[in-house]
Structure formats: structure tokens, C-alpha cells
Symmetry: C2
Subunit: 139 residues, 2 copies
């Protein structure tokens, strides 16, 4: 792990990083807080937020640029896409490779200097899909 000279490895930071890496559920700050609290009962939500910022800056994790109300975090810092359940907000990795050529279509057609793109799929997770079907057949 590459820490610059000014950044310290505290117990809080360590546990937060481990928890994010342990899960594939792309948790929001409050979920991370609840998990970490089991090991560090006195940790504060503010500390969780501050460390998530630091870890993102260090490139250890990434903040997902999705459309939902709450920011979500991913222990895998490499660029990849996600699919979100519109019903329960579950977020999975999307099994599709990065579309590196997407931005090429924009060169010359936009006044913007292009940096990148975010792609998010929406759908229904198996649980919510099943519930919806049950409700419909019940009518």
C-alpha cells in the first residue's frame, strides 16, 4: 500500500479498508460504519467519511459515480461498470469490459475536453424481480 509521508495508518483506517475489501456489496458510508463498529465500537461516522475520502485519494478504493442518493464505495479501485436494482438499490458489478472507444465518437462533435465516462445499468435483482412477478400473478 502506497501511503505518502503525511498519511498515517491508523487502526480506524485499517479496519475501514479491510471491511470495504471484504465485501462485494458496494456499501454506502452508513453500512461501512455499522460493519466497522463491531470491531471499533467508539468510531464515529465522521471518521468513516473522512477515511473514505482519504482512501479514495490514495487510490485504494473508489467512490462510485452512480445516480443514487447515497455515495457508494468499491474496494476494487479499477474502472468497471455496475448494475443497480431500481427497487432495493442493490449494486453488482456489471459483467462487461470497459468501453474504451466510447469517447472517440465525441471528439470534434463537442466543445468539451473529454475526460471519461460513467455507465450504470439499471434493472431488477432476482429477489425484487421474483416479488414483482408474484404480485402480478396474484391479481
Amino acid at each position: 500500500m502506497e501511503f505518502d509521508k503525511k498519511t498515517r495508518m491508523t487502526r480506524q483506517r485499517q479496519v475501514i479498508l479491510e471491511e470495504i475489501r471484504r465485501t462485494n456489496k458496494h456499501p454506502a458510508a452508513d453500512e461501512i460504519y455499522e460493519r466497522v463498529r463491531k470491531q471499533l465500537p467508539r468510531i464515529s461516522l465522521g471518521t468513516v467519511y473522512r477515511n473514505l475520502d482519504v482512501l479514495c485519494e490514495l487510490g485504494e478504493i473508489q467512490r462510485l459515480e452512480l445516480s443514487g442518493a447515497m455515495k457508494r464505495y468499491d474496494g476494487n479501485p479499477k474502472k468497471h461498470y455496475h448494475i443497480r436494482c431500481v427497487c432495493c438499490d442493490r449494486v453488482d458489478d456489471a459483467p462487461i469490459a470497459p468501453l474504451n472507444k466510447l469517447e472517440d465518437d465525441l471528439y470534434g462533435t463537442t466543445v468539451f475536453e473529454i475526460i471519461g465516462h460513467n455507465l450504470e445499468f439499471t434493472g431488477l435483482c432476482p429477489q425484487c424481480s421474483r416479488q414483482r412477478n408474484q404480485r402480478q400473478t396474484a391479481r
Copy 2:
């Protein structure tokens, strides 16, 4: 305009809709509030939010599913992509046609029932791009 029987056309709703359609700037609720206030000084922010909801539900406008902190609205209800300036948050339409086949790649590889996708490009608008270049040459 197709209003269902229960939905009324009030002066407030009318002015809000006109203002959103008049601009191509994809304004957030507070910007719409400021614009509308010039015609209806006594309107409240709450009314703006409520009407934006109603107009979205009616399909007259759309709420953009972008990554930023504030929700933005588009007078064009048809699906299209956008590009956001990472520096000043300016949002333009992206000159690229909807990628209807994108979701095909996911069938059979995800447990989700796919509904759609959101694609947002990021970049620097001309103003911010210029400022950044000036700062760099000044060093």
C-alpha cells in the same frame, strides 16, 4: 399536453414547465426556482420541487440520473446522454445516439433483469479548460 383528470394546470406549474423548456442548461431545482421567481415572486421552493415531480411523472420533462449532488432537469423528455464539466458542473447534451445494443451484452451474464442504462460523459467545458491551461503556462 396530456394531463390526467386529477392533475390541474396551475400558473405555477405552467411557468415552471415553460422555464425548463426555454433553457438547454439542464438546471437544478434552485436555478429553476430563481428563474420562475421573476414571474411569480411569491412561489416557494417546495412548490417547485413538487411540480418537478409531477411533470416528470407526466413525462413532460425528465430528471437526469447523473452522478452529481443535485438533481437536474431536462425539458426534453426523450432519452439522450449528457456530458458534465467536472470543474463547474455545466451539463450539455452529448452528441451521440442512444446505444440500444449496450444491454444485449449483459443478457445471460447477469442475474439481474435488465431495464436500461445511464451514460454520462465527464470533461472540461471550454471555460474551465481555458482557465486550467492558463494556470499551467503561468507556472
